[in-house]
């Protein structure tokens, strides 16, 4: 186990920068998820930690060693690849034991470690098969097994679940979390799926265009997104954003609709803003509105409904913007119906219209 530090880490391909001087401290035993859209530099960052990419600038520190110039094998870490990268010419047993064999450990120790890992991941009956004869989920488990056999300082996961179908993905997510609780190693996990990030992470690192946008616990980034990018990236459905201008303590939208500004915010008169409302915080009247003193009401025509069972997602328009709202205890709603919606203002966000940065402290 070890802590990992990135200090001003830069990656350039020729003149093109991919990762721009990022700083990140990861504590021992922490589960950190790097998340962001494709091309944001998250995988590159992970591969720099792994030693699979040169580091163009800055330092990567694992434990107390600067590892910039160490090859992967001297960094004592394990990595699970998106396509698993199982050795096709070896059996599951040989795959699991490969790293120990390379390290020239005694055969007895290798067998013990392999059996233990196979037990944890219920791979024991598959030990003599080759990867070609395994299902996707089984391959995924072998890849994880190969990682835990070595008791590495740091686990690296590069989009490990993206090749699985939805159901298996949920299942493996749970297994990964259990595994982390059991072995307690430091984990750096890369994904583009915000649900994976939310459910797995101790801390989420949201990246965009080679920069870290925000770092925080899942709830922190969900409740206090620093800008509209994080606000729309984290959480499903994405946060609704309404363009408006501050006039006398209200957000006045383009069509003249005025919504009181969220409480506790001091914003200059006439400033152009975006009002952010999550679907959970805008609900039709009469459908379990949250109890809050700061409630504002708007009327919107519903254009589409998505019944999900316990709730229905309503698509409606407000001031020319498409909004998504949640209806609890749903009833049938027909397209075109005008409904009154309550907005829980104390859960809403204000962002600067130009920079997209949050106006909350």
């Amino acid at each position: 186990m070890a802590q990992v530090q990135l200090k001003n880490v830069v990656k350039k391909y020729g003149a093109v920068g991919v990762v721009h001087a990022i700083n990140l401290d990861i504590a021992e035993g922490e589960f950190v998820v790097l998340v962001g859209p494709s091309g944001c530099g998250k995988s590159t960052t992970l591969r720099m930690v792994a030693g699979l990419e040169d580091i163009s600038g800055g330092e990567v520190i694992i434990g107390d060693r600067v590892v910039n110039d160490l090859p992967p094998r001297e960094r004592n870490l394990a990595m699970v690849f998106q396509n698993y990268a199982l050795y096709p010419h070896m059996t599951v047993r040989e795959n699991l034991g490969f790293s120990l064999k390379i390290a020239k450990r005694p055969q007895a120790e290798i067998d013990r470690a392999v059996d233990e890992a196979a037990g944890i991941l219920s791979l024991t009956p598959l030990l003599d098969r080759k990867p070609g004869a395994l299902s996707g989920g089984q391959r995924q488990r072998v890849a994880m097994g190969r990682a835990i056999v070595r008791h590495p300082d740091v686990f690296l996961f590069d989009e490990p679940l993206s090749n699985l179908d939805a159901k298996l993905r949920t299942q493996m997510r749970v297994e990964i979390k259990k595994l982390h609780q059991r072995v307690g190693s430091t984990v750096i996990y890369v994904t583009h799926d915000q649900i994976e990030a939310m459910t797995l992470a101790d801390r989420i690192v949201i990246m965009r265009d080679g920069h870290i946008v925000q770092v925080g616990t899942p709830l922190e980034v969900f409740e206090n997104p620093v800008n509209t990018f994080v606000a729309t990236f984290i959480g499903s459905p994405p946060m609704n954003l309404l363009e408006g201008v501050i006039r006398a303590g209200q957000v006045v939208l383009a069509d003249g609709t005025a919504i009181p500004q969220p409480p506790g915010l001091n914003v200059a008169e006439g400033r152009k803003v975006q009002l952010g409302i999550r679907a959970d915080n805008i609900m039709p009247e009469g459908h379990a509105l949250p109890p809050t003193a700061h409630m504002a009401f708007v009327e919107m025509p519903v254009i589409l409904t998505e019944p999900l069972g316990t709730e229905t997602l309503l698509y409606a328009t407000l001031s020319g913007t498409e909004m998504q709202a949640k209806m609890l205890n749903p009833r049938p709603v027909s397209a075109g119906e005008r409904m009154r919606f309550g907005i829980a203002l104390d859960k809403c966000h204000l962002f600067d219209a130009e920079t997209g940065n949050s106006l909350r402290g």
Partner: protein, 298 residues
């Protein structure tokens, strides 16, 4: 432990580059030089006499050279087109077979693995006017009672050579096109069917475009050793009778080794080399374009 001191790809490619420079490039420079001299094997000092483009002018004004040149181009055009069409047909037929396809595929590959010299010999035997299989068969079936002079008559000899050439190399096309047919995704074909295409139309507009890169691979491979035909001709007719099947390559061989006029042979050799290289580069470029069009590039 930086990962890029000397670029690793260069280190890895160096042995290949060195050996090819030594065995191909440097000799070619020498042959280019000697093509400007009247170099004669038996008189080594002639290597130092510079005659400029004399040999090239001589070649350009030699009707024998132009006949051989034309015959070579004609042979390649006919042979390659026939190989492609027959290969396509063979591949389509084999792809429709359900049982024993593996055996057919293997059998199909054998001619490709025969030494060209062996192919030449084999067909020299088969087309032999006296004891050859073809004449024996024709005579036994009563189709003719005179021995047809396959390798003596100029046109018949060309036919026999082209037949031998096509026999060896059709499989290159057939096998690669077959590989293409196996890789052919079924969805577009089904979509074409639903869209109302006739079998011919779906072949023409779906299958064939998909097969093009495979055809280009085959062409590219063939272009690497079109000169294999030299071996076949060498054995079957050696350019004879009376130069009636003379190809560029046999002419070069004869001029260089039999007449020992190396300088002149090298000049003609250079023309043959440029022809071959041009041919190869053309098909490799075609191949790269076709790849890009199908989105299979790097």
């Amino acid at each position: 432990m930086t990962r890029n001191r000397l670029p690793p790809w260069l280190v890895l490619l160096l042995p290949a580059v060195i050996i090819i420079l030594a065995v191909v490039a440097i000799p070619l420079v020498l042959s280019l030089y000697s093509s400007f001299t009247p170099y004669h094997l038996t008189r080594p000092d002639t290597l130092w006499k510079w005659t400029g483009s004399f040999n090239y002018i001589k070649a350009a004004t030699d009707p024998n050279f132009w006949k051989a040149f034309g015959r070579t181009v004609l042979l390649l055009t006919i042979a390659l087109n026939a190989e492609m069409l027959l290969g396509l047909g063979l591949a389509l037929m084999v792809s429709k077979v359900t049982h024993g396809q593996r055996a057919l595929r293997t059998a199909m590959m054998f001619p490709m693995m025969f030494s060209p010299i062996l192919v030449g010999f084999q067909f020299k035997f088969i087309f032999n006017d006296n004891v050859g299989l073809v004449n024996n068969a024709l005579q036994s079936l009563g189709l003719t009672d005179v021995a047809i002079p396959w390798l003596v008559d100029g046109n018949l000899a060309m036919f026999a050579i082209i037949f031998a050439e096509v026999w060896t190399s059709t499989s290159v096309f057939a096998i690669l096109i077959l590989a293409g047919l196996f890789a052919l995704p079924q969805d577009p074909l089904e979509a074409a069917k639903v869209d109302g295409c006739t079998p011919w139309q779906s072949f023409r507009f779906v299958t064939l475009p998909f097969l093009m890169p495979f055809i280009y691979i085959a062409m590219a491979i063939r272009s690497l050793d079109v000169a294999r035909a030299y071996d076949i001709v060498q054995v079957m007719t050696n350019g004879g009778p009376a130069r009636r099947t003379e190809l560029l390559w046999t002419l070069i061989g004869r001029t260089g080794y039999v007449d020992a006029r190396m300088g002149y042979a090298n000049a003609m050799g250079y023309i043959a080399i440029l022809l071959s290289i041009g041919f190869t580069v053309y098909f490799f470029l075609k191949l790269q374009t076709a790849r890009r069009e199908l989105g299979m590039g790097d």
